[in-house]
Amino acid sequence: MQARKRYLLLFMSFALLLYGYFGSYQLKSEPGINIRRDNLPTFATLDELTEAPSTLKRQPATIALPCRMETCFDFSRCGVDPKIYVYPSEGPVSASYRKVLSVIRESRYATRDPYEACLFVPAIDTLDADPLSPEHVPDVASRLSRLPHWNNGRNHLIFSLYAGTWPDYAEEALGFDPGEAILARASASETVFREGFDISLPLFHKEHPERGGAPPAAPGNPFPAPKKHLIAFKGKRYVHGIGSETRNSLWHLHDGNNLILVTTCRHGKSWKDLRDERCDEDNREYDKYDYEQLLANSTFCLVARGRRLGSYRFLEALAAGCIPVLLSNGWRLPFDERIDWRRAVIWADERLLLQVPELVRSVPPERILALRQQTQVLWEQYFSSIEKIVFTTIEILLERVLAHRSSRQRDALIWNASPGALGTLATYGDSRTHLPLAGLGALATVRAPPAPRAAPAPLPAPSVPVVGPPPTPGNTFTAMLYVQATSPALHKLLANIASSEFCEKVVLVWDSERAAPTLKSLSRVAGDPRDPLPVLVIDATTHYPGDGVSARWQPLWAVPTAAVFSLDGDAPLLAEELDFAFRVWQHFPERIVGYPARSHFWDEAKGAWGYSSKRGGAYSMVLPGAALVHRAALALVARAAPALRLAVRRARNCEDILLNCLVAHHTRRAPIKLAQRRNYKPTHHKYRSPWTDPEHFVQRQSCLNTFATAWGYMPLVRSVLRLDPVLFKDSVSTLRKKYRKMELVTS
């Protein structure tokens, strides 16, 4: 007992001592804090905080400030739909720049009228400003200034890939004075970059495809990444001069196993004169490794600066799904105004070169998985072809114009997730919930709770017209019918639509010389307490004369829901089928969800794509003669490339194939076919139908090939599955089944 007491006493005295030692400081200072802090004055009085501008005149600025959009851009030239004017070509133009020009000229942004243009693109090749390069075009400065609308470069967009020349590679040495022109430039450094005005470009090879572009090389997401090498680099080094130190010291890190960092001195004619003592050994190591293999088998890829800050390695690594590790201090990454590169690259510091292995080793596996996926997302959306690079540049610019006009721009999450900015219209909606964004996962569908209502404005009412925002996926759909003739099938379909649980409105696009039916609403079946279903009949022959089948999705303004059930007037769908399709679509708003499936195949004999309606094990299209599509996807069809739209207009056909290609191009996913129904036309048709016409079929085949050429590849994706109701055709009592009539549809 006593011992315990003694120990207790000992312990307590120790505790006291410890407290005295450590805690006395606090005892001393605790009151002090309060006293001093409370006695101090605040940093600024309310008067100072609400200081109004002085009545004195401001002294004029002594130095000219670099351009910003608000000082160097004439927004008044840009209307609701800003256009780009490309000057007619004259003089020599390099292959790369020719591709850039042709991509713009054939885009939906192009205009032939310089007076309605918001942006001007000179046809003078400004890509390469290095007089030592064979691609260099001389005398750019004077030719630019002679352009009829030059006006010191205002509203002009100039592309530049290589600035400066040996030995200093000065970034300002463009060979001309850009003046107030917006520079889209590669290898830009933080110091020369005009923030919010210039656009940073990636450096791309001469062989970079004009359109299309390679599909992602790394679609798999193994976890953790089972790669042979941790980090790889293979490239030349310059031995002397600007930007050579980084690559010259890479050999310190090379270990021949995990870290493969090999360089060569061989480049140019006279490399042997400049060689240093390491060159021979470096060259030996260099020849041991194959670059493609390294890219594919490495988790990280070093992107070290060359003479200029940017390097080809960047896009190569991105394409291969190899996470770029940047050694390029001060480089403005491509499109970093909108692309969040923190998701896809690792920033290293040239000054801390030797820490790179430790840096990449400490990246957790989950982050590696995310980084790797993001390299693919970004490559796919913005870099895989010259078209994408140029369009991204334009979209960034046009978004600035839009932000100026209506104070909105795409959500940063849209830019950095699939389908990205090129797969969405900047003018469509102002929240990501308006768009079908598969790549965002939960972030796309989960929306913030509503803000409290502002009190309805008392009189006077606003004098400005209110633009309705696009709808978000709700619990209803709009049936959009394309009708060329009245038939019993149409009446049956309308009756079925009227008994659908989720249909909110019917938009009937009437495309026939006959007078459009006067239909205001559909009455419900007896016993259905709901109000009659509103119908809007739009006469396409007067509203969209000559558009033919292209007109079928044009009246989107009449669609109040995000879900659009696109139907042919004679589609024999049951109400049950309509409702089931909608319930499935709610889970896949980014895809086309419907009944009639078709497929494409490569016809070896003809050397062309073939179109097939045969029953096989796979399909790649779901025809919007009976399918649900997101309203935003239909809006995108209306803004597709002019050549594509023209093909549809000319053929008076193929709008459904175009829609399928477009959605597949942006989402990279297959459509979804539902249940068993294959035919969506009544089999016994007493009218002459284009579907029985062999000519029609040939036309569709040729459309498919036109589209594949326009995109530069075949965007359609195959699928082998269909989605059925859970108890579909199961041998259980039909009374248990929710969708029982559907099973009886045989064809």
Binding site: S54, N221, F223, P365, T433, R615, L721
Partner: protein
């Protein structure tokens, strides 16, 4: 008696001797300790004896008497370098010394600088005191200037009006480690003075980083300076309550609106009732900052309470580009409408201001109402809920502002410490977690899948399963998780001869969670988790299941399905295994999923759930469904109609025992997990995936997956 006494004393003596031993041990221990520490000090001194004695660095004392320093030298620090970048003006070698993964900050001792005439150069303000105090208490603080990555001069430069630029520049020059301002951090909130109002603090700061308010896009050195807000004491006192309804669409309470803008606003206010335009109350000469009056009618409102009644609140450029009322507005959960060209918003490098505010160009004020009307309800909701969250996280106090500033610098120096966009900008309570699988692709078929079989001792059924599995073309490997610690797995000779790799992993403990451990042996991204008695699945079914998974690689894709339903009578969730038109779970008795979910299950799932599963030896499949549904907010996919999986002869279509006890336990799991996650993540769906040609006859084209069992 004596014996007893003897016994007692014996006991007692034993006790005392025990005590003695204890004492003995204690003192020996003490002695050893003293001797050792002595030796240690001697050795330590001997080693460092040659070099000058290392200083003991005391933390800066913010409350003690400030030493008086007279400024003698007229030398000033060099002017601010306009195009500094992190790469050129920041000495990165000072950071990360000794392998720290965070920056270290030193604060110069507080001194009372006086000029020749005896006036103090700058007074210490409460806010600056709190900045220094925050740094001192933060995890970045170091009292040793030699190992500091950042150095903070303790001269209050928050308000340009309170100090003389020349004198402060002299102080900077006299600082011991100034070195042209390299790695120095200078705080400022009100830069410039009349009439020009420079947008950056008027000081010779050389290469120093400036954490300042009111930058414009020319004076701000992107990637180097830090833009901070102007602190508002008013905002700190605004609570987070909200009125049920906002009474005004747009409110302007700013007192220092420039003339031209004010005229435009007045013309808007006169033509529309959507804008409530408030100014000072003209009652007497002194401005009462707690009141605002409407310009035309003179109606009086209390400030800042009135801000809560507005849905949108205006902030305009005035003498300076940013205003303190921005903080009042955000704190009041009113959506800021910023009209201030080329302004650099606070923490612009990390905060996405388009999530917080509307921006209208100065030349476009006249379209204010039109622009606000065009804002959709969805966006209003996003903006509205963002503002208070942002305020509480980054702006609510000087402490938060300071820590955010330091964190941004820390992320710059240590890029791996950087938090992603979502973490900075997306409140998780609103938008949920981020899906780790976001690349929208059809997963490649080539690598195939790995079958992971959890088994205890049912060797016979295991072998049957293995023999069946290997007939699936895309199967890459079989991994048998041997969960029986008492019995060794059968020797390799007894295993069926197969043409695919098979590996047996023995576990340390018989836990259900072992099936979801992300074993290194699983080299494919897809794993088929399968019970050792699921012997009825055909190779066609498995192959098709894998193809479906490739289409939906972030979901659980499998065969046995279940449903959860809400039971109104007990007000709880119920587990449902009957024939239904809906499903909400796919059991992992036979299901494909990405390997990352195993990793999530093991390392990221709430520990509470994992423990619950291991204790009750049940519900690991339900836990997995909850986990995936909670992260992806997507339901699983059921493949093919099959309902019977175990023995072909049985008539009972139930896979697991269907007794009432089992069902109630499963129900309890659902309720428990829903409680842990705070919501019911599972969602019922009405569809399943079938092969395209399922039940289609007479087409003439051969079936791709002919052997799909009925039930």
């Amino acid at each position: 008696m004596a014996g007893e006494l003897l016994l007692k004393t014996g006991k007692y003596s034993k006790y005392t001797s025990y005590r003695k031993i204890l004492y003995y041990r204690f003192f020996v221990g003490l002695l050893l300790f003293i001797v050792l520490s002595l030796v240690f000090t001697v050795v330590f001194n001997a080693f460092t004896g040659s070099s000058p004695r290392t200083d003991v660095y005391l933390p800066v004392n913010l409350d003690g008497e400030r030493a008086l320093v007279k400024l003698k030298s007229d030398l000033q620090s060099a002017a601010r370098i306009k195009n500094c970048t992190y790469w050129e003006c920041f000495d990165v070698y000072r950071c990360g010394r000794g392998g720290h993964d965070k920056i270290t900050i030193y604060i110069y001792p507080l001194k009372n600088y006086k000029i020749e005439s005896g006036n103090s150069v700058s007074e210490l303000s409460k806010e600056f005191y709190m900045i220094l105090d925050t740094i001192k208490r933060s995890r970045y603080y170091t009292p040793n200037p030699e190992e500091a990555c950042l150095l903070v001069p303790s001269v209050d430069t928050l308000n340009q009006a309170t100090f003389n630029s020349k004198h402060v520049s002299q102080i900077y020059h006299s600082l011991e480690h100034w070195n042209d301002g390299e790695n120095h951090l200078i705080f400022n909130m009100l830069p410039g003075s009349a009439p020009n109002y420079n947008t950056v603090v008027n000081l010779n700061t050389g290469k120093a980083i400036i954490a300042g308010a009111g930058f414009n896009s020319w004076s701000f050195r992107y990637g180097f300076d830090i833009s901070i807000p102007v602190y508002s004491q008013v905002a700190e006192k605004i609570d987070n309550t909200q009125p049920a309804q906002k009474n005004y669409l747009i409110i302007s309470t700013q007192l220092n609106i420039p003339h031209d803008s004010l005229e435009e606003l007045q013309s808007i206010a006169s033509s529309s009732n959507d804008l409530l335009l408030l100014g000072t109350c003209k009652a007497d000469n002194k401005i009462d900052y707690t009141k605002r009056c409407e310009y035309t009618t003179g109606r009086e409102f209390r400030y800042p309470d009135i801000l809560k009644e507005g849905l949108f609140c205006l902030v305009l450029r005035s003498a300076r580009l940013t205003q303190a009322i921005l903080m009042d507005i955000i704190a009041s959960q009113c959506i800021p409408v910023v009209i201030s060209d080329s302004v650099v918003m606070p923490f612009n490098s990390h905060l996405d201001w388009h999530r917080i505010a509307m921006f209208i160009p100065e030349s476009n004020i006249k379209s204010l109402v039109k622009i606000i009307y065009a804002v959709s309800d969805e966006r209003r909701g996003e903006l509205y809920w963002q503002s208070r969250w942002v305020f509480e996280r980054y702006f609510a106090s000087i402490e938060k502002i300071t820590l955010t500033t330091l964190e941004i610098i820390n992320e710059k120096v240590f890029p791996l410490a950087a938090r992603m966009y979502e973490e900075w900008n997306m409140p998780e309570h609103l938008y949920g977690p981020v899906n780790p699988l976001f690349l929208p692709v059809t997963a490649p078929k080539g690598p195939g899948f790995t079958a992971v079989i959890l088994t205890y001792d049912r060797v016979e059924s295991l072998f049957t399963l293995v023999k069946k599995l290997v007939r699936t073309p895309s199967l890459a490997k079989i991994l048998v998780i041997w969960n029986n610690q008492n019995k060794a797995p059968p020797p390799s000779t007894e295993w069926p001869v197969i043409n695919k790799p098979l590996k047996v992993v023995r576990t340390k403990e018989n836990k259900l969670s072992n099936r979801f451990f992300p074993y290194d042996e699983i080299e494919t991204e897809c794993q088929l988790t399968i019970d050792d008695d699921i012997v009825m699945l055909t190779p066609d079914e498995l192959e098709f299941g894998f193809d479906v998974w490739r289409e939906f690689p972030d979901r659980i894709v499998g065969f046995p399905s279940r449903l959860h339903v809400w039971d109104n009578s007990t007000a709880s969730w119920r587990y449902h295994s009957e024939w239904t038109n809906q499903i909400s779970m796919v059991l992992t008795g036979a299901a494909f999923h990405h390997k990352i979910w195993s990793w999530y299950y093991t390392y990221k799932m709430p520990a509470e759930i994992r423990e619950w599963v291991d204790e009750s030896f049940n519900c690991e499949d339900i836990a997995m469904n909850f986990l995936v549904a909670n992260v992806t907010r997507k339901p699983p996919i059921k493949v093919t109609p099959r309902k019977k999986f175990k023995c072909p002869e049985c008539t009972n279509t139930e896979m697991l025992s269907a007794d009432a006890g089992h069902m109630s336990q499963r129900s309890a799991c659902i309720n428990r997990f829903a409680k842990v996650y705070g919501n019911m993540a599972l969602q019922p769906i009405e569809f399943r995936a079938d092969p395209l040609q399922y039940r289609e006859t007479g087409s003439g084209v051969p079936q791709l997956y002919p052997d799909i069992g009925a039930l």
